[in-house]
Symmetry: C2
Subunit: 186 residues, 2 copies
């Protein structure tokens, strides 16, 4: 099975739960821009994330609120913060690194920093059609000038929109531009 | 053909020719540390490289002096400088981006900035044994947690020491650590 797929690059961003959000903001989360994944959006609200070694300002919240707190970074972001976060599927925070999340209102210090695994979103119908199971490792061919084939994991959900998510280090290493198309191989 | 190979990560660095070097330094180039490639060394001498958009200080010269000037960067380095350098084999400066190279003594502004292609060094004997020709595209399997197989180009020379050279973006994207071993596949 081979199928063309858009590659979308995720810059560092954060997901928050209700409890953490309320410590950091008085207003409710507001939508800056809907994302391709159904119901997901980049929020207007941003936070500062810091460690004793470094910090990032204007880290955007991706909404809606979650049941967990999760700060997703690239390896080069992690170097700035002096952290060595594990590679994890979104929602799996085992071994996540500790960071402090700050706004003008308040701050929390919690283990929530991971490097997201390379993954491809799809809905159950698409997964079924391609014979793919949730969590399955697939190959993604990236046909750029610095080309290669990397492992990506299937993320099947009802609100899944078919696209690959890689991080900014992947984008720089493979010279991936906006609207880059890859080939998903099973 | 499959063969284990060490992966060495090249950070940004610069090669200079005699004319440029003499504009920037009064003393001769001195050895800080020999590199694996026979006769090559990291020099004590460093330069500042800048563009109207950004700069890097303490860019190390890799000696000995060359017949050309060449500043090798990663894509993320290029973003800091506001440049879009081409991917080139070392020594091919077609379309190289312009930067200013500075020391306390002087400065030169020249087109010399490239992203080095992913390559694997070897000597003619090793190339012959593996049936590899200079410039040939090969596959490199990188067995890290963010694994994949990328294209690398053979660089055959008498002073070649068998190892792969990737850049810091590749290292971050694939979570490549010191002493990482890959598998070269033809």
């Amino acid at each position: 099975m081979e199928r063309k797929v858009n590659i979308n690059i995720s810059a560092r961003h954060i997901h928050l739960n209700r409890e953490t959000y309320d410590k950091l903001f008085d207003n409710e989360l507001t939508v800056l821009k809907p994302l391709n994944q159904i119901g997901q959006f980049a929020a207007n609200e941003c936070v500062t994330v810091e460690t004793p070694k470094g910090k990032f300002e204007n880290v955007r919240i991706v909404g809606p609120l979650r049941s967990y707190n999760q700060f997703e970074v690239s390896k080069s972001d992690a170097r700035v913060l002096g952290l060595n976060p594990p590679v994890r599927e979104s929602g799996n925070l085992e071994g996540a690194e500790v960071v402090t999340i700050k706004t003008l209102k308040g701050e929390v210090t919690i283990p929530c920093c991971i490097i997201a695994n390379r993954h491809v979103h799809m809905n159950p119908e698409e997964a079924n059609e391609m014979g793919i199971k949730n969590g399955e490792g697939l190959k993604l061919a990236i046909p750029t000038e610095k080309k290669g084939v990397i492992e990506v994991f299937a993320k099947v959900s009802d609100d899944g929109f078919f696209e690959v998510h890689l991080d900014t280090d992947d984008a720089n290493a493979f010279l991936i531009n906006k609207d880059q198309v890859g080939v998903l191989i099973k």
